[in-house]
Symmetry: D2
Subunit: 351 residues, 4 copies
């Protein structure tokens, strides 16, 4: 009963098999090889972006922070949701990579920024003089940290506000596959057609061992990115082992199939949790993450039976009266099965 995170799961069989296969023999180092060429071709095809530049790193924080350094000036504010990974979970990586800058977090229901919220946040920092932090960039997380979804039109509205102020737009797509699988949107519609300049395309959480792609839709900055990646220690010497994962991930739509499985399991779990006595969903479940609230006694029972998930927010505790509701986060991954979900639900539904 593992619902702590999608990064406690392993690698999908197809990905692992590709890794094993690519180990055969010698290969040029540092990404100058056929495996990487295949990755680039697959990304360009999936995103209908024949000129896009594609670069691999091994962690989501690297993908995000390098992207931020590419898009945000050293004196710029990074507009993002208050719960965004770059704001809350990267120990200041964006500021380190940018060499300054500063996140400008925006509150918003269900993990989402609205155009009005973005405009109001920007208005707190008047422009035109040198005294204030300058408008730097917009970063949108899709799937959001709340497990909700921006649809292409929403992305486009937000990007338009940012671009109107001269800002570039980044998408943290650590779980983009889940957002695409859930929305059915075309990758291009969700990204560059909606105004996204640079995408962190996640793969680690959804069936890889450790690989993320940075997709730069306007390749003018590709060489700068290469230099930034190298001097940040994020260029792999045995690069084929990144490329093999990503190629297998994108090949034949595996990424969307894996995400679809995770999303389905989350939907099944969300339905079950909402049906518990006193149960309710904290956020709409639109991807592979469920935020649900139910009686503390049930949480205690699940935990004692070995279920793994986080109370959310973290400052809650299992100690206390049985019937007071507690909220928690449950994450499904590509490897979550219906049996896993049912086992948890059965346990919670026992009388």
């Amino acid at each position: 009963m593992e619902f702590a995170s999608d990064n406690t799961s392993g690698a999908a069989p197809e990905v692992l098999a590709a890794l094993v296969a690519v180990n055969e023999g010698y290969a040029p180092s540092y990404g100058i090889d056929d495996h990487m060429a295949r990755v680039t071709a697959l990304v360009r095809e999936a995103f209908e972006a024949p000129a896009a530049s594609v670069h691999l790193v091994a962690t989501g924080t690297a993908a995000n922070a390098l992207s931020a350094a590419l898009l945000c000036p050293q004196w710029g504010a990074i507009y993002c949701h208050a719960e965004a990974h770059i704001e809350a979970d990267e120990c200041g990586a964006p500021e380190f990579f940018i060499g300054g800058g500063r996140t400008a977090p925006i509150a918003g229901d269900h993990g989402k920024i609205t155009p009005g919220g973005l405009r109001a946040r920007m208005a707190l920092t008047p422009q035109g003089g040198v005294h204030h932090i300058q408008h730097g960039m917009l970063s949108l997380t899709n799937l959001t940290e709340a497990g909700t979804l921006y649809r292409p039109g929403e992305v486009a509205s937000l990007a338009a506000v940012a671009r109107g102020e001269g800002m570039k737009v980044h998408m943290d797509g650590s779980r983009l596959s889940n957002a695409l699988a859930a929305s059915g949107a075309a990758p291009a519609d969700m990204t560059w057609r909606a105004g996204v300049d640079v995408l962190s395309l996640g793969a680690t959480k959804n069936g890889c061992l450790g690989v993320e792609a940075v997709v730069i839709f306007d390749p003018a900055k590709a060489w700068e990115f290469e230099l930034r990646r190298k001097r940040a220690g994020h260029l792999f010497s045995k690069h084929r082992f990144l490329a093999a994962q990503m190629a297998a991930y994108l090949e034949d739509g595996l990424w969307l199939r894996l995400a679809t499985q995770a999303n389905r399991m989350a939907a099944r779990l969300a339905e079950g949790l909402a049906d518990l006595p006193g149960g309710s969903l904290v956020h709409p479940c639109q991807g592979n993450i469920v935020f649900a609230s139910f009686a503390r006694g049930l949480h205690r029972r699940a935990t004692e039976a070995g279920a793994h998930y986080y109370l959310w927010p973290f400052d809650q505790t299992l100690d206390g009266p049985d019937d007071a509701p507690l909220s928690a986060r449950f994450v499904c991954s590509w490897s979550t099965t219906g049996a896993d979900v049912d086992r948890l639900l059965d346990l919670l539904n026992q009388r």
Copy 2:
């Protein structure tokens, strides 16, 4: 006939098998797991350093630059050999991670610094005032970029000079296994007993896919390292995939066995190249790298037959008279076989 680099080789079977095995089931993320505990235990045992703190990253540049940031103040000079990786091959990563600093390269025969050379270089930057760059740290590469070896006594002499000036000592052990296998020195004698504070312990080049350990012998700075690693995007979420590689690498002395094989192949190759008409070694071959010089016509023949290696220095060219000697670098890896070496030598020895 692949001698371009040890990073064109793949992963050793034991390492790959461990990676596949560790994929089973779920595991806590970010290194809080039994796999990492096993790695720490293995490193501590191998280095007779029961308090050492061990941290994994995926690239050598990350290991070196994070170590430098830990040891060198932002206004410090990094004393290192002029050919050291941190000086010549990391696109300024140390300066980026340090947030300033500056390499202070030192010339020295066969890739090695001498105590006199170190003292002379330090004397160029008088201390005591705020105007000059301050003495920052010493970084020694062992095996050196020239394929030569520092023995424990040499490390100790150099470290003593550095420590006498208040500097900390780093060892770039990207190929430490080769140095240990060649010298027969105990890991402890080569590192902390000789005055090394922090070690970049390489594994990627010698049979892993992508993993390096940073070993901090005085663990007081371990938490600072953890924060630096995270904010540099070098903390893996599915950390078990790093740990499994490193554990397999260290288990039962695999790392030294692999290095011994590479070293033996290099010795065999060195002997053969030196015996060519007009052949000579540019540097003593003390590990897995051979620098040899022989007639341009033979280089042309080898290249045309598909042999991979680099002319060294790079600014030489195959074009020109047949008998003028050209120098070149040949790197053997754990996967180089006697047949590989013989095939190249046979080709070069054909009349």
Copy 3:
């Protein structure tokens, strides 16, 4: 009728005379001279801090950002009021000097943080793991940007919260003289006895041309500060011209006399503005700054007559109905006279 800022005023006659006097002859450069020794002695005496280390720079942003770099780790949050200069008016200088970090702004009435507000803000960033920004430092601005005052007991309460979390405490004393003159508190009580580690002691706004002192109460970090100042380009070669200003400023209590004059003028102005038809104070006037609200028609009249001051917040406009109230900021300086104040009040009180 100049009330735009205290930095539109010139230098006090005593300060200018000292600058002229010190020009005579030659003097050692970079602060190794008797003038600087005199400054150190004066600061130590005024603050009853015989071991304090004193360093001069020319701007308040330099004093603040260098202090922040001394106290805050590169992965630390700078807790400060949302209107603090380091948050709102330094174009990201703290992040630049720290090499990362990030301000964590705290809302609070009348420009002040409360212990509860500080605790609540810190609670947003749980500690213990590497994922979040770490608690870095607390910076208090006194006099605040709202023209209000922290008394020694308030400083002590806030510092205690910060120190309890392992943080160091900085005071932005750009207008500390005004706070001291207003409260009658001893400089020591307002700073190190209350838990302040490093003080930016302003002088520019209050009668100097351009000089600020950084006072480090625990001198263990003094040498680090010297290096930071130098490499930030903030060490003056003809340093006597900074020292002469600061010595004259502190000599015989000039700094407090100048501040007292500014504070008195502000009190007189505040009383007059509050007595206008529809007039009210936005914040209590506790130093040399007045935030008052009154009818737009009166603002228009004052502006047309050449009065200089800022509508506050900035996004208000003089256009619109006469009787709608607008708020504004008026700053008095050491050179503001009773006649200046009365001229503005008379103008506003004309029927």
Copy 4:
């Protein structure tokens, strides 16, 4: 007998008078005033550069490091002479402001780089890949640290090499006035017409209290400079006190008259020192600095009589046999008089 440095001198009477005069009344802060407009006009006229953007800071290190940050990418090498101030005397300021980078010092006789020397240094760092530091910028110091001079044709030759490799060109003109006065070259010929992109125009050493101009010949980067200056704490609030100095300095050719006086005194001193028994010049005296060698006994006599100057290099000592020659540096300033020079020479010539 003060020859330690030109920065031990005070301010010229005209400059001090301007500072006193500008103190009258109120003035807008942060450089938005008539005084700064006058400075810009004077610089543009002197350099025949009607579009140049002019920015004031208070120290030479600030001028140089901010200029470097404007011109050099974060992964770039700063090619400069091994004795250049940015290499030897700024405690790593360029690396701090650039956020990385690294000086690439070039040896050269008499403090000067040659095109061949520059080309040879660049060849040490092959380009085209991401592994090496990239070619960043060229910085020329004129007058050099050795007191010698680049003429416009020499600047043009060096700039052409740099520009041919895609680098921008900076001139550290901390003593540009001395170079102009000595060479008779037009400021435009010495700078932008010769390929200089950004100039640090010194004034502090030559009769000001503390002000330097950064002159950006192509103003496209002016706004970026403004932001960099602000966030580095180098924007003065009471900016008129910088502008008044610089305006007085440039007005009616004062800067060149002051430099001419310093140069003449140096020439007189150089002639006298070369004529001492065993006396010789270490470098040609082409500005206001004299490097001369003569018997240790004479140095001892001068020092005992209170003469101030530095043995050069620093690691020499007055202790030892009387007749062994020692080399030393003597710097004349705008305030050095013929009597000052004669007094030293008379002392040394006594039998």
